[in-house]
Amino acid sequence: MFDLEAILNTIAPELLLAAAGLLGVTIGALIGDRFNSLSFKVGALVLFAAAALAVLYWPGGRAFDGLVETSSFANFAKVVSFICAGITLLMAEGFLRQHDTLRYEYSLLVIFAALGMGIILSSSNFMTLYLGIETLSLSSYVLASFHRDSPRSAEAGLKYFVLGALASGLLLYGMSLVYGFSGSTSYEVVAEAEASIGFMFGMVLMITGLAFKVSAAPMHVWTPDVYEGSPSPVVAFFATAPKMASMVVFAIVMFTAFPQAMAFENWQVIIGIIAAASMLIGAFGALPQANLKRLLGYSSIANMGYALVAVAAGVQYGAGSLLIFMTAYVIASLGLFGGVLSMRREGGMVENIDELAGLIRRQPGLATALTVLLVSVSGFPLAFGFLGKLAVLEAGWTAGLMPLIIILVISSVIAMYYYLRIVKIMWFDEQTADFEPVDFWVTGTVYVTALVSVALLIFVSPFSELAASVAAGLVS
């Protein structure tokens, strides 16, 4: 019954994260504040080790009577998410020290959130899925309000919590309906069930709940508010690791639990509408924004819309494209969110877009790297993001989703406008105040992600083959 090898194959990284998290709590309780600084470096190491374990136990397995099952598709997302989480941890230290909130709980919360991501990616049963989502969400709520003395941060946490709880409720209700009509919570059994009306109802409610997690319209309203209020490193974290994990889980649930022809027809339409709404709301919503964090929030809504086009294309066409797009997006976002949001000038953090004025003169290297990242996020053909968007376009086209393609093209042009506006302010506008030097880890991340974005544009071949083979595993 207790097959250690199968367990390790399936959830080795999660075991490490759980153990490290619990150990961290213990150490923190024993030595208190002395653990604060150390915990960030160690935490990042643990997350990188978890990513390494996911690679080591490739391609995954199945354990606990099918409660957890790791495909290579999920493993791919795990590796990317864990690495992102680790890097955001490294970037967070300097910021939190400046704001006098450098506490070891932060790194533990990120580790627990990563544990949640691992669990949802490995789940093949609604119960494990729900447990994982709650682990991830509860850690996120606390992270959002980590600056507990700042009313805005507390507000962000509360807002996130209330809305998140509602979404979780919808998700749970959907799961119970699906369970009631199919007789099981296991993806495999649900996939075989007849797609009756009640079953569909449950499925739609589940889609609503999952859409909240990836901040897709119309469940997106929390995103700009939470991004605005949360501490900057937390925003960089929210925009990358959990987005990657949740989006891939969204796809896995749709692809493996609801593959019946009738269900597919329905959820393709629903997700198509969600994708279209996200692309348009993300593009238009960002236009009037003056606050940098809100703008980036809308930008991530639009990008989730693009990713959902790949989901709507179905498992056969969309799975590989989704991985390429999401990886390109999180690589660029990591540097972009991390870099832009930790910029300081005389008199405090850079909060509005205008305050980036003249960055090129003070820090030409950093400004150029940020420009590359903006170019990548916008999908313009100078960086990896272009290939991500190309993959999504290809998926949408083969699946025959013509209206989505047109909306994608239009919203890309609109989005280009506000990305360009940031470039314009950094390059063309006169500097109004002096910038302070940026933390070593943040600068490093910005440079590395920019380089990786350009390098992957050129040497994409091994990567795209990997994504294709991983996706092929999901089809069979």
Partner: protein
Amino acid sequence: MDFPILSAVTFIPLAGAILILLVKMLTGAQIRPDGTEDERVVYAGIMFSVATFVMSIVMFLSFDLSGTGYQLVEEVEWFSGIKYKMGIDGMSLLLILLTTLLTPIALIASIGSIKHRLTEYIVSFLVLETFMIGVFCALDLVVFYVFFEAGLIPMFIIIGVWGGVDRIYASFKFFLYTLLGSLFMLAAVVYMYLTAGTSDVVQLEQFEFAKGAQTWLWLAFFASFAVKLPMWPVHTWLPDAHVQAPTGGSVILAGILLKMGGYGFLRFSLPMFPDASVLFQPFVFTISVIAIVYASLVAWRQTDMKKLIAYSSVAHMGFVTLGIFSFTEYGVQGAIFQMLSHGLISGALFLIVGVVYDRMHTREISAYGGLVHRMPVYATLFMLFTMANVGLPGTSGFVGEILTMVGAYQASTWAAAGAALGVIFSAVYMLTLYRRTVFGKITNPEVETIEDVNLKELICLIPLAIGTILFGILPNLIFDITRESSLHALAQMAGG
């Protein structure tokens, strides 16, 4: 594998740009208290662009003029069947030579007139050169698209940083107009790749798309190329961009970026969508003639010298589309010739405007008058390029216009008649410009002390003047190079 000469030509400027940036980073910024920079960096930039020019001459020498098809082909697998494939024929060869000639000229023209953020200026130009050459070399649709789009960013920065008063508005307009067109092309590229199973240009030429699909694909490509060319009514970004761009930027914009549209029609639209091209011939003829007549009339009423030349560019590009869509050997040869000739002439005219702008800091025609008394050499050169732009026999402008009109005449008498009207108008606005700036009495006291062209400006203008006259007298120099590629495009049309 042979020496990858096309990649060498393409990437020397980029390598130079990176090197300049590295040197600047290592030695630290040498910005003087007044905000200006050490001018030696310009010479480094000129050196790299001249090296590129020399390399492109080597490329020209290793090109077999009598050969057919694409030559000097390089192929490396990129990802999932898309290849990094480079190769040239006569048409792309000429446009590459034009690019590598105009870039050093644009850089030389910037000595002294660009003072702030010089390094970034040089780097932007070198990066832009790489992308422009890449556009003309690429033999894979996706690679082509990447180069085609990527060029927008350096141009956006060139206009936005070193441009005139309204530079931000102009740079945004330029960027978003072009991008919107291009994204439709991207959608078409994806469709073609999925339908034909390849994005290789040579194989796509052989592939026959269904007639209905061709219509849509043609329109998607047209959206992109028409904006780039630019054709009426999507030309409105051009006057703004030109007026605001620095002189060097205008030279590149008019000289090379506009040619990408015409190149795209000949390389992709005609051979790949022959049925749709025939279907849309009357449409293209109509808007080409409207462009020629309308833009000429608008040019006549301009008070800004650069704007006048910008509108004249729109009119002259109308001849290019007219020639291409006549589907005759005369027309196509004439269109390619017109692209080259317009590259030389409009580049020279923007330099000519730049010469007086550097001295007087205004482009208003009314601020000038009587320049001939103070600047005889300038007046002579200006006269030459004015005549070339009008299409005086003996200059290259004449050959391009007469051939495209002959081609158009074979296809549609009315179109040719309309275009001929444009030739008359071009004489009207160009001579008006010349008369009001160069002749007459000196009215503006500042003109009293203006100085004639200096050595730097002569170095820029003389090669263009030689080219204009040489190709005007011996057009066969060009036709021998482009004959194979124009016949190839037409054969594809007939056979496809």
